[in-house]
């Protein structure tokens, strides 16, 4: 079954919409769902043109397609456990919060907190991701714990903060502090990173581009060939300031 939601033109287009009800499982019983626009509760049909194609008996066969301007729609795919969501443009904050299964594909850019506290499943963002991509909530000791987030563009600051499990792959560059407070999992940055893995405890990070402003408390322990990426990389242990046992691998410039 495919559910197509096309956003209607709104009088105040900058008021955020909170739509945690948009997950495939909820469409099994119909499209009579509630969302919030600012501080007002609305029905889904007040904000979207809804088209349903085919039928489904189980949630894993449901695909939700979001069309039109979704850049202000927050929390799409929150607590999603199965099925798939396709977003044809940009998506607002908190897309895929607490997701434990299924797939989300974003053809445009994602705003901040993409895949916050994710447990499983897969998010593919074909554009850029905002700040706090694949992280946790304020003050929480664990961020993303499982699943995979792949960003084909760049990611903002604090990408994969408190990463505790799963895999994050940013093909472009990241902003400040990627992998800060990391305690598990795997972070791969395709291009440049600034101050990566500060205060890390555990986990592995690979930077395939340049590192700007390396944190001074990382201990260089080895130089290694990484066959997976066909590169030679310097291997650091750290963060020494934090009694950390994490691994940071940085490609040696020029070496193939």
């Amino acid at each position: 079954m495919r559910v197509i939601l096309e956003s209607k033109v709104r009088k105040k287009p900058t008021i955020p919409i909170e739509a945690e009800s948009i997950i495939p499982r909820n469409f099994l019983k119909g499209t009579d769902l509630m969302v919030y626009e600012g501080n007002k509760e609305r029905t889904l049909s007040e904000l979207f043109w809804i088209f349903v194609e085919g039928t489904a008996v189980s949630p894993e066969n449901i695909e939700v397609v979001l069309k039109g301007d979704a850049s202000r729609i927050k929390r799409v795919g929150e607590y999603m456990d199965t099925g798939s969501i396709l977003i044809t443009g940009d998506i607002g904050m908190h897309c895929g919060n607490f997701m434990s299964g299924g797939t989300i594909e974003i053809l445009g850019n994602a705003d901040a907190w993409l895949g916050r506290e994710m447990r499983g499943g897969m998010i593919l963002c074909r554009g850029n991701a905002g700040h706090y991509c694949a992280t946790g909530y304020r003050g929480e000791k664990k961020g993303m714990q499982g699943g995979k987030v792949e960003v084909l563009g760049n990611a903002g600051d604090f990408c994969a903060e408190y990463l505790a499990g799963g895999e994050v792959h940013v093909h472009g560059s990241t902003g400040d502090f990627p992998g800060v407070e990391m305690r598990g999992g795997r972070l791969t940055i395709g291009r440049d990173a600034t101050r990566p893995c500060a205060n890390m405890k555990d986990g592995t990070c690979v930077v395939l581009g340049n590192v700007h402003e390396m944190i001074p408390t990382f201990e260089k322990i080895d130089r290694r060939v990484l066959p997976e990426w066909k590169i030679i990389a310097d291997v650091y242990k750290g963060d020494v300031a934090n009694r950390g046992k994490g691994t940071l691998m940085v490609k040696i410039p020029g070496a193939a």
Partner: protein, 429 residues
């Protein structure tokens, strides 16, 4: 008439030993206060009555009219923002939270552009702190990091640190070691025993290096970290480890420079590391007189210290998403109520520009930069001058502000209560 033991409501120090000479509705002399206190009490020029913007000028309106129009603006809003709260007393802040809950607003205080990052760091790793009295009587090593107390908190050094005689530090000037860390040699740096000139944005790296040095991992540290030589870093780590009681005070140089709350977190974790060797504490140098109080009031009423979003009827908190600057920058809110602060002068241009676009109401005793962005400005009492109430000092100690004169203005808590009643449909003035 001479009034004793007056509390100055201006900065987070809340000095409570001022003497004021009062004549009728005017303060004519300030004793014991710093130049900021003197200006607070003596240059207190108020807006005489509520004003409303017309297409070409301002017109005077009555308080009842202003209150009713404010309630109308807030009632119809889909995402109202209530901001400010830091230069007034606790009662006003509490009514503000009630209004936010009633109308589903976002309520935020000035921590959002000041020590909000310190709070985020404290939520991650805790706060090894103490009251200023402990620092005064015990501390023999003081670190001022990214702040300039001589100009911003002029009596901090004489009341609590460098020049204050303490029970266990009787000869304060000789017995206390002062370390000042800043990007340039400011006035406070001039009287430091050890001045550390750091490259802008290098705080995080230096704090990490100090943590490693305190752990004895000298070999890892490169020759220079953010413009500071390894020798100086080793010397500072030594001073800290050999202290009997150390206190770190940090300002916006740490919270609002690159890295923000991660800088503060690193400083807290350095304090934590030093506590394996000696006693060390860390405290933020809070700016507005009662900004700590706004955090307290918000926390005990909503569970969160700032940036609380009531849009869904329950409190949600996520700085970066529900903070005033971010909401304004994204053009989310469609009405704003500003109380006891001046975002027009302090917010980024794009955020202030959005305030001018939407209906904004300002409740503040003085004409300030936000007045020119507002639709309505309602004058009120100034807490600590012509209104009594509770404020919290920068170390979390509640202090009762005194009413020293009567100037005939209504209390801002009273104005907000009337707005609340209007919104609740109980009373139409």
């Amino acid at each position: 008439m001479l009034v004793n033991d007056v509390v100055c409501p201006f900065c987070g120090c809340l000095c409570d030993d001022l003497e004021l000479e009062v004549e009728a509705d005017r303060v004519v002399r300030v004793l014991n206060g710093c130049s900021l206190a003197e200006a607070t009490f003596m240059n207190d020029t108020r807006l005489p009555a509520p004003i409303r913007r017309t297409s070409t000028a301002w017109e005077k309106i009555s308080y009842d009219e202003a209150i009713k129009e404010t309630a109308d603006i807030l009632k119809d809003a889909d995402r109202p923002l209530l901001y400010g709260w830091s230069s007034t007393h606790g009662d006003t802040q509490s009514v503000g939270v009630h209004i936010a809950e009633l109308i589903g607003a976002v309520i935020d205080n000035t921590s959002t552009v000041c020590h909000g990052p310190s709070i985020l760091a404290i939520q991650e790793v805790g706060h090894p702190g103490c009251t200023l009295g402990q620092v005064k009587n015990r501390a023999d090593v003081i670190i001022y990091w990214g702040c300039n107390p001589i100009e911003a908190h002029p009596r901090h050094m004489s009341r609590y640190t460098t020049f204050a005689t303490g029970f266990f530090v009787p000869d304060a000037q000789r017995e206390r070691t002062i370390i000042v860390v800043d990007t340039r040699r400011n006035d406070s740096g001039g009287i430091a025993d050890e001045f550390v000139q750091i490259e802008p944005g290098g705080d995080y790296a230096v704090l990490s290096a100090l943590r490693a040095l305190v752990r004895g991992k000298e070999s890892v540290i490169p020759k220079k970290v953010a413009g500071i030589s390894k020798e100086q870093l080793i010397r500072i780590a030594g001073i800290c480890k050999n202290a009997k009681f150390g206190a770190i005070f940090f300002g916006l140089g740490l919270t609002m420079s690159r890295g923000k709350y991660k800088n503060v977190r690193n400083a807290i974790e350095l304090t934590d590391e030093l506590n394996r060797h000696t006693k060390f504490v860390i405290s933020p140098m809070r700016g507005h007189g009662n900004v700590y109080g706004s955090n307290e009031v918000f926390t005990w009423m909503t569970g969160y210290p700032f940036a609380v979003d009531f849009a869904r009827g329950i409190a949600f908190y996520n700085p970066g998403e529900t903070t005033a600057v971010d909401i304004l920058r994204r053009g989310e809110c469609d009405a704003a109520l500003i109380v006891a602060s001046d975002p027009g002068a302090n917010f980024p241009r794009v955020a202030a520009a959005h305030l001018a676009k939407i209906p904004t109401v300002l409740i503040d005793p003085h004409v300030n930069a936000t007045t020119s962005l507002s639709r309505i400005h309602i004058p009120c009492t100034a807490a600590g001058i012509d209104a009594a109430g509770t404020a919290y000092r920068m170390d979390g100690v509640p202090i009762r502000l005194k009413k020293v004169i009567e100037r005939g203005y209504p209390d801002d808590a009273e104005i907000l209560k009337k707005i609340y009643d209007c919104l609740n449909g109980w009373m139409i003035p």
